[in-house]
């Protein structure tokens, strides 16, 4: 099977029509291909997240990763932009939803799109995935250890993270959740609380918590990387998206 891909930074219309940068990786075959919006983690629009986008492309998905910190530093390095965003209180939820929606619409506009779009995010992007899947029409979602889906950041913190579990009734698609059993944010208790909300609202979901893994176990460039959990997690992601995003 032909496996060529192309990956590049492009400009798309984000929240409020703002032009923002996004990393776009797609298969070069005729398609049709499903789309995936990849939401980066708190450390920003970095090399590791772009690698994830390319990985989706090699598996037959058109993937786009919007730079949620673009406005804080259009030409800044990812770490500088992430630092500026943190100092400014983080990317506002409304703006994130607008940027994710712009990404979703972009994927649907592709001539070789199959009409299905999923969303996946890591760390803060996990919470933003949950938020986006409740606010926007997606076909499948994957929350990788998103903190503050339940609970909010403490009073007085410059970085504002409001709980989004209250939106669960509006969740638009099946949700896969991948967590580390040793994580404290989200802790196993937090995960149980999210699961209870999903059950209450009769949503389709599947949760997996990995023993011996904490936060960030997918991050190959960090000490928290746990290959066994990450390998199993990737397999579950492919199964999930194949099930809900196939033509």
């Amino acid at each position: 099977m032909y496996d060529g891909i192309m990956a590049e930074t492009i400009k798309i219309a984000g929240h409020g029509g703002d032009e923002i940068a996004a990393y776009f990786a797609r298969p070069l075959g005729p398609g049709p291909y499903p789309g995936v919006v990849v939401i980066h983690h708190m450390p920003g629009w970095d090399e590791a997240t772009k690698e994830i986008a390319r990985r989706f492309a090699t598996h037959g998905y058109s993937a786009i990763c919007p730079n949620l910190f673009y406005r804080e530093g259009p030409d800044a390095s990812p770490d500088d932009a992430a630092a500026a965003s943190r100092a400014a209180g983080g990317a506002p939820d409304e703006r994130v939803v607008g940027d994710v929606d712009g990404s979703r619409r972009f994927l649907l506009s592709l001539v070789n799109a199959n009409g299905k779009v999923g969303v996946i995010g890591y760390c803060s992007g996990g919470r933003q995935t949950y938020l986006s899947a409740c606010r926007l029409p997606f076909d499948a979602a994957v929350d990788c250890y998103g903190a503050f889906v339940v609970g909010s950041s403490p009073e007085g913190f410059p970085v504002k993270m409001e709980a989004v579990v209250g939106l669960t009734g509006d969740l638009s698609c099946p949700l896969l959740g991948l967590f580390g059993a040793e994580d404290q944010a989200p802790s196993p208790e937090h995960v149980a609380e999210i699961e209870a909300a999903l059950k209450e609202h009769g949503k389709t979901y599947e949760f997996h918590s990995y023993e011996g893994a904490g936060h960030g176990f997918f991050a190959t460039d960090r000490t928290m990387y746990r290959p066994e959990a990450a390998t199993d997690g990737w397999q579950r992601i492919w199964t999930w998206f194949d099930r809900y995003l196939a033509s």
Binding site: M42, R86, F157, M161, G216, R222, M224
Partner: protein
């Protein structure tokens, strides 16, 4: 965990980045995942000029133990300087 624990304060002074010295007016202090240091969590400090764009930043990522030792050293140096440190 992703702590999001963040403190901010105004500061006065200068720092040196890739382009040379520049004035600093703000510091962000947080205990969270590092970009570069080989630890799960570090005490991170961004010394910035928030009028000059995201690149006007001097960043450090310290192990918790070394951050505490640094605090002790700073307090010790300021105490040893006596009255001079009160008016600088």
């Amino acid at each position: 965990m992703c702590s999001y624990v963040t403190e901010k304060t105004d500061i006065a002074g200068s720092g040196k980045g890739p382009e040379g010295w520049f004035r600093l007016n703000s510091a962000t202090v947080y205990f969270d995942h590092p970009f570069h240091a080989p630890y799960e969590h570090t005490l991170n400090i961004d010394f910035v000029d928030n009028t000059a764009g995201p690149g006007a930043r001097v960043a450090v990522e310290l192990s918790a133990e070394s951050a505490r030792e640094l605090v002790r050293c700073i307090e010790s140096a300021l105490a040893a300087a006596g009255p001079a440190a009160d008016v600088a």
